[in-house]
């Protein structure tokens, strides 16, 4: 989980005929990297807001949330009690879901809240990026998925689940004996 501080946890990729090399954007705990300027340049035609770090107040709190989770994880490991691990898992899942909801809400606003004076207005068209997976947006194919950091977090959660399952399994086994 500590590694997530040093790796992007989400990625958005965009393909269009004139971008055969793909445009990409990586979301980190505290910043956004990749072809953000190019993507902003393209999106201004359809009236989308400019993406920059200031757009995401989340960047200010996310390191603390993750830090809190890590600290809790360490404590639960030290304490070694099953209920602590369960709480830890629920916290992890809660944070994950909250993150996704937050991301969805941002995507909705980003894709729907368009400048009414935009040069290109396609009636009925919104440009909400996919939450996860692939979506066709005008001439672009947009793809959204966790990046390395996100996968590591997911794996961490998975390991907590495994720990819990094994714990319960062994308990059951012992009970059977």
């Amino acid at each position: 989980m500590v590694a997530a501080y040093f790796l992007p946890f989400w990625q958005i990729l965009m393909w269009a005929p004139q971008y055969p090399e793909w445009l990409s954007m990586q979301i980190w705990l505290t910043k956004i990297t990749g072809d953000v300027d190019i993507i902003n340049g393209l999106n201004h035609y359809i009236g989308m807001k400019e993406i920059d770090a200031a757009m995401f107040p989340e960047f200010a709190i996310m390191p603390w949330i993750l830090g809190g989770l890590i600290v809790f994880g360490v404590i639960s490991a030290v304490v070694g009690r099953r209920y602590m691990v369960l709480i830890f898992l629920l916290l992890l899942l809660g944070a994950g879901i909250a993150g996704l909801v937050d991301f969805y809400l941002w995507g909705y606003d980003y894709g729907h809240n368009l400048d009414p004076h935009a040069a290109i207005k396609v009636p009925g068209m919104a440009y909400q990026p996919p939450l996860i997976g692939t979506k066709e947006l005008l001439n672009f194919i947009a793809y959204s998925a966790p990046d390395w950091g996100g996968w590591l977090l997911a794996i961490s959660g998975m390991m907590v689940i495994l720990v819990l399952i094994r714990e319960y399994w062994f308990m059951k086994k012992r009970t059977l004996q």
């Binding site: 990729l13 393909w15 269009a16 005929p17 004139q18 055969p20 090399e21 793909w22 004076h117 935009a118 040069a119 290109i120 207005k121 396609v122 009636p123 692939t134 005008l138 001439n139 194919i141 793809y143 998925a145 966790p146 990046d147 996968w151 997911a154 794996i155 998975m158 390991m159 495994l162 399952i165 094994r166 399994w169």
Partner: protein, 653 residues
């Protein structure tokens, strides 16, 4: 313990799956080109089927390309100097680039119009427009030389040009930028008074006689941006259609402010009607200042004439000349199908392609079926003129060409594709990707009443990964497609010269056998022509020294010259005495601040040289003319201003 192993295995599989799903999806790939190679292969010694005359965009030239091979045969300098043959540097050609602003050595050539008779290619001329300093040029298709350039007064940004009427009666030149026109006082106004003071102009240039281009009349219009145009043909002959944008009349941040209205206009002009008004003396003669440059074929000398007036008709005062047809979102191309019945508007920001009917337009005009007015002029009702819309054609429609078999092909800039659709049914029948971001497209004969069909070329704006990279600037790429079948088939990628916009292509058979091979020496009327080595001489007129020089394989006559003094201006008038095809001679002299000249057989060209120091300077032939080309050289001696070396010249002594 077994179970825990199972869990571990499960974990590994899960991670593996996650990693796999983490890969980006596969992008749509390149199309399979099958037996394309054999279709574009022109065997050694064989000819291409079409001449493709391609605008050079920001290089100010035209290039001549063979189809289907994509090979470049020639660069024709039009609005830009061309040191490789002395165009714009030689004394003869300099006048060709004169304007009312003085000598302008560059321009931006966007569109080609080939001459037509009865709406079909006749292979006489190619016309091109200068976008920046408004001009139109004529290129002779028997010599591939620029023979005439006419400046356009009261115009700025001559983009909507040089589209041509069905019998080459007129080519048009309309202003992309509206500007204040008139006398000094009415031109010096605040930019913010655009709506009141800025005007567009549409010039109808009489073009059917070489050397006699003139503005027959100029329409004055509200201040909008004219983008592209097409003449009517067959049943719509006598009309002209102009796409407009910025009917919002914005003067700043146009990318936003000129994109606000749902519809701009296609302006339909009844030019036969305008002709009648002119004939009836209704035109207003106004003062103007523009230059007409012509090339005299016999002497090879270009001359400039200043013209000082133009006849104008303000379309507001003649309500039956122009009608506005609403067209979605900043239309770019406005293209007329081979029958002349359908007018296709390509709103570059629109989600549909509207197709208008000429018959319905006439009816709407007759029954005054208006939906409003624009600057006091009638705007026809969209639905009343519309045949129908092509829905979901793609993104960013720009231009449409026709194959003569009932299909139209539209370029889609944003979605990078060419879309084939049925003109009658308005249904998309096929689409093919382009690499990348296609601008203009071209079908041989596409804008005529008899398209030659067979091929389609897409001229792209973005090249990216199509060729070996060459630093930040890449060759603009074109793609050749086979459109003879039901499906569009990609045949070839080829790099182009400059930045092509529009192009036209005509069958090689129309002009191949009409090519001028050399200029007959006996017809050369250049005042400094030297028709035999014996006639060579040198004349001094004060500080001017005129060298009457000949070149023939493999020597210059004279080749030794002395008696030039510092402060002299030396004019080398070189006549190429060859009377055979493909034997030009070049001439270059050390330290010349101009360029070389390249002299065609039978022609005379003049290079001006102002020596800046004392010494002996070599001159030589720059075009590898024979086995002894390297021997084709000479010396010229320059002495101090005060010296008394007498003027002598010799050959072989």
């Amino acid at each position: 313990m077994k179970i825990s192993k199972l869990f571990n295995a499960g974990l590994i599989v899960t991670v593996g799956l996650l990693a796999l799903s983490g890969c980006k999806p596969k992008a749509p790939g390149s199309v399979d080109t099958g037996d394309a190679a054999s279709k574009v292969y022109v065997a050694p010694g064989k000819y291409d089927e079409f001449y493709n005359i391609v605008s050079g965009g920001f290089n100010g030239q035209m290039s001549v390309v063979g189809l289907p091979s994509g090979r470049v045969f020639k660069i024709v300098p039009v609005f830009s100097v061309h040191p490789e043959n002395g165009y714009g540097f030689s004394e003869e050609s300099k006048a060709m680039l004169n304007t009312s602003h003085g000598f302008v050595p560059w321009d931006d050539l966007h569109h080609i119009a080939l001459s037509v008779t009865n709406g079909e290619h006749d292979g006489r001329w190619a016309f091109g427009n200068a976008n920046n300093t408004p001009r139109v040029a004529r290129v002779d298709l028997t010599t591939f030389e620029t023979t005439e350039i006419l400046e356009i007064p009261n115009s700025a940004g001559n983009h909507s040009s040089p589209f041509i009427t069905a019998n080459s009666e007129y080519i048009v030149a309309s202003s992309r930028f509206s500007v204040p026109i008139g006398d000094d006082k009415s031109r010096d106004v605040p930019i913010s008074t655009y709506k009141e003071n800025f005007k567009g102009t549409v010039s109808f240039i009489r073009a059917d006689k070489e050397g006699e281009m003139n503005i027959a009349f100029q329409l004055v219009t509200p201040g909008v941006n004219f983008d592209l145009a097409r003449a009517g043909k067959q049943k719509s002959h006598g009309w002209f259609f102009f796409s407009t944008y910025n009917t919002e009349q914005a003067h700043t941040l146009l990318e936003v402010n000129a994109s606000q209205k749902d519809k701009d206009f296609i302006m339909a002009v009844n030019w036969k009607k305008a002709e009648e008004y002119i004939k009836a003396g209704k035109g207003k003669v106004t003062k103007a200042k523009y230059v007409h440059n012509t090339l005299d074929h016999k002497s090879g000398i270009a001359k400039s004439t200043m013209v000082d007036e133009v006849i104008q008709l303000n379309i507001k005062d003649f309500p039956d000349i122009a009608y506005f047809i609403p067209c979605p979102k900043s239309p770019h191309g406005t293209d007329v199908d081979p029958t002349g019945e359908y007018i296709v508007g390509s709103g570059k920001l629109a989600a549909v392609i509207p197709v208008f009917s000429f018959t319905k337009m006439l009816k709407a005009i007759e029954s005054k079926d208006y939906e409003g007015t624009y600057d006091g002029m009638p705007v026809l009702k969209y639905e009343s003129v519309l045949k129908g819309e092509v829905v979901k054609p793609g993104l960013g429609p720009l231009h449409t060409e026709f194959d003569g078999k009932g299909y139209a092909y539209t370029s889609m800039f944003v979605s990078s594709e060419v879309v084939k659709w049925d003109i009658e049914k308005l249904e998309v029948v096929d689409r093919a990707p382009t690499y990348y971001s296609v601008g203009h497209l071209m079908v041989p004969g596409g804008p005529t009443t008899k398209p030659h069909g067979k091929y389609l070329v897409a001229y792209n704006k973005i090249t990216k990964d199509r060729y070996l990279p060459t630093g930040p600037e890449l060759a603009h790429s074109a793609q050749l497609y086979d459109i003879s079948g039901e499906k569009i088939k990609l045949l070839l990628d080829f790099p182009t010269i400059g930045e092509p916009h529009y192009a036209e292509a005509l069958p090689a058979s129309l002009i191949k056998d009409k090519q001028v091979k050399f200029y007959p020496l006996e017809e050369n009327t250049h005042p400094y022509a030297t028709k035999s080595p014996e006639a060579s001489k040198i004349e001094r007129k004060g500080k001017e020294v005129h060298v009457y020089m000949t070149s023939i394989r493999s020597h210059f006559g004279p080749d030794n010259i002395e008696g030039i003094k510092l402060g002299d201006e030396v004019y080398f008038h070189v006549t190429n005495l060859e009377q055979d095809w493909d034997v030009p001679h070049g001439f270059a002299v050390k330290g010349a601040n101009t360029a070389e000249t390249l002299i065609m057989p039978g022609a005379t060209q003049t290079l001006k040289w102002v020596p800046d120091r004392v010494g002996v300077f070599p001159f030589y032939c720059t075009d590898f003319c024979s086995a002894l080309h390297q021997e084709m050289q000479g010396y010229i001696r320059v002495s101090p201003a005060s010296s008394n070396v007498s003027l002598i010249y010799s050959l072989g002594k």
